[in-house]
Assembly symmetry: C2
């Protein structure tokens, strides 16, 4: 009692203005009833409480409901609370609750999540609450992103211990035992929003190190601190990918430069071919090099995409070690809030929680999800076919009529196709969400991965179907080249504009005037203002942009050697614009700790695999090779057989290369072994201790 | 001292004849100086000592050397001994030492090896010496194979603690610190042989349950008990594979039966084609079914080989759980005896041992092993080409001369080729051994796997090069069919004869007369007699036979539907003959605990992958399909394109199927999670205990 009073006092009486401004840690007006809830253990006493998360309540929520909610947030976990700290904002009737977390809750959750931290020995070790004193700087060592995620984790995990009526709400909103409180409150409109708060000072420092100057390297560790590992992995990958583009860019430039004379004549020839529609080669130019740039680029692409992915895997595992996410224990933690199932004892952890059999989920995936996704992919193909059919019809019509009306009609198929594709995309997104929800994944990451995979397959199909069609059915290299170049230039311009310029303008001239902040504003208003920012849309769009880029590069770049150069230029600006965007234009997102890029890693690997096939094929279409074959007197069937054989050999080489380059650097593997060995030893020692106890 | 004397007494004075005969556990004549060494801890006192391993000494080994060796074997591990029990045989000057192991040594080694045993709760848990009382039947629960392997493991691990001269050996044989004792003794001719002893009674029971009756199921658990998990995995796989052959066998019979009329006409037609050398089809028979047996079988083979491998993986992981080898800790144990490197502290376990950097090994593999293996594969191809060239030359010669001499000459290329292939094979085996030794693997299993992989690639190449040549270059289906049928029938007959009949005859009529045992023979002589049996040649030949079979079936069976039937008949006898062989015709082998089939698993998977490609190709060669295409007016290039497309889709389907069928059954995954969770918890608890200690 004494200690708690003391803490309470310390918390409420710290009010030198200097402190507020410097650290931004305390709320300003500690009037009656508006102070932090009490911490439940003496060790968590701290002079300054850092506001981490803002909970926005619905307009009609009465003060008794708010008081109850604050009590639940502040209650210890054994009483069914979240063991966090809550602050009611300016007064008890306001519509926000500011939430923070005491040290003990943070550390216990860090252990539960399986975060690794620097041990006394300098190595990363799985954090253990009981051993906290042996970890370096155990007081402040959780990053801001981790602290905020833990608050969300605890709030999401709140469950009712016995049937309960929430004060101020009608009878119909009764909570049943084991109901998820936060979910119920959200659906009842009591909680409208829960989002992490920006820390202006840290954000300013981060921005300066990240996108303000001319620096080449990104401050990835600080990004991880501030935005969490999911965002940091995206930027690390972007970084790694951009630097890796240097080699193909240089090669592309060299090919374009050295073979410009030969190349231009070749292109001219092809143009003539494609325009005339015939495939007769005018054999006037026989002085070209044995291996054309096309072939060189195709072979290089295959090797590059494999080596790039293998090296990234190594980099990724080093980063995961560095950021302490290599040993996440998500599958031992509580299931995600939306997970449902019959209550039972988890056979692994022994805790009572909803259980859902694996085979049921598999069945749902195979019998429901796969066919539905296949259906939508079929609809994409159908749309493409209708588009081609319509175009042919309209062209025919235009030929027959040749009027202004028929000229206008020419645009109709494209417009219809674009509308159709967009509608399909929107419907599909909702369907994918419902399907993944229906699959009922236990872990948040599994849910995310399955959802991403579904949308990914569709988007990929949407983006590449046309190019594949041109390359493999029409077999029209010049058209492919034209299409690729225009896609690269147009889509990148459009992306940059829609992603950065428009949000920036909106932010500056439309939203910002409503959000003018002055130094004198109470903290609460500053917090509330963050709600006017749009919600961060997630990294999906960013990743898919990279994936499509990578696809252009690894699948088709041999027909247009400047692809890598264009991408390199684009990405160097992309790094800065993405950084600016996430820092300034959106609310701070919650970011769970992750150990890698998840399903994106797989997507890139699949692409790098497909690139072997694609490049083999494009190599076969290479005009120079076809010429050589014709000269050598090989029949087209034999050439094709050779190509198939070559493709299989190349795929084999790719597999061998992927197997030979270890996925983890040697030192990471050793550390991992060491961790395993330590926990194995611990198991034995523990048993030893118990048996000694018995003897004693 | 008191306890040890008592144990000693108990060991030497137990001499009721009944006991000897019943358990076969005690040596017969405990004369002066010929008794078991003393156990070093009171808990290991046992009334009966079971002879496990026989060490055969060289003829010129003096009694003082033998005494020294017995002392080393019996000394506790802290004094540099093996903590085993040794018995000098009939007297101190005899040339054998019988070795056994006390309970404590066995249990500690079981923990070190990471064996799992049934815990009190009924689950398998990693065995822990300190927790031994909580494991079921902890007194006798190590299997015979495990006990014998542990004896070998301890003997192999003996290292000199300080420079030492072995009594009775010349100065030149001085042992330096950290020298491996057993290795040095073997090279000095002191130890000639170390092999595990058969247990006649257990062997008789096993044989009765295994191959004597008409039983369908094999007693796999008993096999694992007696021969160890490596042998048990082989027989389990053989079992699983044989039962899996039922489906393709039934299909093959059905195809042969229903389409016998159509088929025979087709075959006849093909014969005509191949004899006349032309590819003109006499279009007299158009009433065949749309899909021929050939096509059906090809498609079935692809699916079957995938499903079979996936299901076997699940079965394999269940077996590994059942036999307690799912959690082996080989990489934390001592390195294998031949491993060399600079002495240093192992960063994982903290023990002082030789260290050898990973990158050096990788470098050796890439720069030395891969090119050398490639060279030998090249020599195989060269041999094949020379053979074809020689055959053509000789045929030409015979045509020109047409004499008896030239008739005889016809056989020369084949004979030369066989001699060449055999010589190459022998040279290669030695080269592979040296290469793998040079790669310097730390773990025994890694060494075995790399050695097996090297020989495997070569043998596979040797076996299938000709068939692939016929199928893909000559494109001659009837020849392929003939070749396959003759290979299947001849090679199986030859195998059965060389593997079983000859050893059986040799054993019965040549070796056995020298080995007549009577009940009155002293135990020592019975032990010594086991040395007259040949050494068990390992499972390599058995596995390669299965692999080649599996290759015939999955790669080429569509051209000869009865393949599966022949293989099924062969394998049913193979199970019995292999069982008989390993029980009766050879010495008992040492068998380290293993968690799966190791590199063989990979080999079978690669084959099942190649089978997709091969079947696609053979499908394309199918006479019925070619006819259909010709009718449909498709050009051969287009057909080929379709086939390539189909192949890629099928490979995709195969990958998806392999990904969708989990490698482990659900319950195994749960158990594994549980074990991980327990050891994670233990790590925390241990730290907790330590911190509490500090507080106390």
């Amino acid at each position: 009692m004494n200690v708690q009073d003391f803490v309470q006092k310390a918390l409420t009486h710290q009010k030198e203005p200097k402190e507020y401004e410097k650290g931004g840690k305390l709320l300003s007006k500690p009037s009656a009833g508006s102070s932090w809830t009490k911490v439940s253990c003496p060790c968590c006493f701290s002079e300054r409480v850092e506001p981490l998360v803002l909970v926005k309540l619905g307009g009609k929520v009465g003060p008794e409901t708010k008081r109850w909610l604050i009590k639940v947030i502040g209650a210890p976990q054994k009483d069914g609370g979240a063991a966090l700290l809550a602050h009611p904002g300016e007064d008890a009737s306001g519509d926000i609750i500011v939430v923070s977390a005491p040290r003990c809750t943070l550390l216990r959750a860090a252990e539960e999540l399986g975060l690794c931290k620097t041990y006394r020995s300098g190595d990363m070790e799985a954090f253990s609450y009981n051993d906290r004193d042996n970890f370096k700087d155990s007081g402040v060592f959780l990053t801001l992103a981790e602290r905020q995620y833990i608050v969300k984790y605890e709030l999401d995990g709140l469950r009712v211990q016995r049937d309960l009526r929430i004060p101020g709400l009608p009878e119909s909103r009764m909570l049943q035992k084991r109901d998820n409180i936060w979910q119920k409150l959200s659906s009842a409109g009591v909680v409208v929003d829960t989002f992490p708060l920006h820390n202006r000072k840290k954000l300013k420092d981060l921005g300066e190190a990240w996108y303000s100057g001319n620096q080449l390297a990104q401050p990835l560790d600080s990004v991880n601190d501030y935005f969490g590992s999911a965002v940091a992995f995206y930027f690390s990958f972007l970084d790694f990918y951009t630097w890796s583009l240097l080699t193909p860019a240089i090669l592309g430039l060299a090919i374009s430069y050295f073979s410009v004379a030969f190349f231009s004549s070749e292109v001219k020839k092809e143009m003539v071919d494609s325009v005339s529609g015939s495939k007769v080669i005018i054999n006037d130019d026989d002085s070209g090099p044995m291996i054309s740039g096309h072939m060189l680029q195709a072979m290089f692409s295959m090797i590059w995409s494999t080596v790039f992915m293998e090296l990234w895997k190594r980099r990724s595992s080093s980063l995961s070690y560095r950021w302490g996410t290599m040993n996440l224990a998500e599958r031992f933690a509580e299931p995600r809030p939306n997970f449902y199932g019959d209550l039972g004892v988890n056979p692994v952890t022994g805790r009572v929680e909803p259980l859902f059999p694996e085979w049921k989920r598999d069945l749902r995936m195979v019998l429901v999800s796969v066919p539905v996704v296949g259906l939508f992919l079929g609809l994409v193909v159908l749309g493409m076919m209708c588009f081609y059919w319509g175009e042919a019809q309209v062209k025919q019509l235009h030929k027959d009529w040749n009027s202004l009306l028929s000229q206008a009609l020419l645009y109709i198929p494209s417009v219809l196709h674009i509308v159709y594709t967009n509608m399909l995309g929107n419907v599909y997104r909702n369907v994918a969400q419902s399907l993944t929800e229906y699959e009922n994944h236990r872990e948040e990451s599994a849910f995310e991965n399955h959802l991403t995979a579904k949308i990914l397959v569709f988007t990929f199909f949407n983006n590449f179907a046309v190019l594949f069609h041109i390359a493999f059915f029409k077999q029209d290299v010049p058209l492919l080249r034209k299409r690729l170049a225009s896609l690269l230039i147009v889509s990148q311009l459009v992306n940059q504009v829609t992603e950065v310029v428009i949000p920036f303008l909106v932010d500056r001239f439309i939203s910002a005037p409503h959000r003018t902040e002055s130094e004198d504003d109470p903290k609460e208003d500053k917090f509330r203002n963050q709600r006017t920012l749009p919600v961060f849309p997630g990294l999906f769009a960013e990743y898919i942009e990279l994936l499509v880029q990578f696809g252009y590069l690894s699948l088709f770049s041999c027909v247009y050697p400047l692809t890598a150069v264009l991408l390199l230029i684009n990405n160097i600006t992309e790094i800065r614009s993405d950084a600016y965007k996430i820092c300034n234009l959106f609310r701070k997102p919650f970011s769970p700790p992750v150990a890698n890029m998840g399903v994106w890693q797989v997507a890139f690997e699949v692409l790098s695999f497909v690139s072997v096939i694609s490049n083999c094929w494009l190599l076969l279409l290479s005009p120079r090779l076809q010429e050589l074959c014709r000269e050598g007197g090989l029949s087209s069937t034999n050439v094709l057989l050779l190509a198939v054989f070559g493709e299989h050999v190349l795929i084999l080489i790719k597999f061998i290369m992927a197997a030979l380059i270890p996925d983890e650097p040697d030192w990471i593997r050793k550390k991992r072994d060491q961790m395993e060995y330590t926990s194995m030893q611990a198991l034995k020692e523990q048993v030893n201790a118990i048996s000694t106890d018995f003897i004693v």
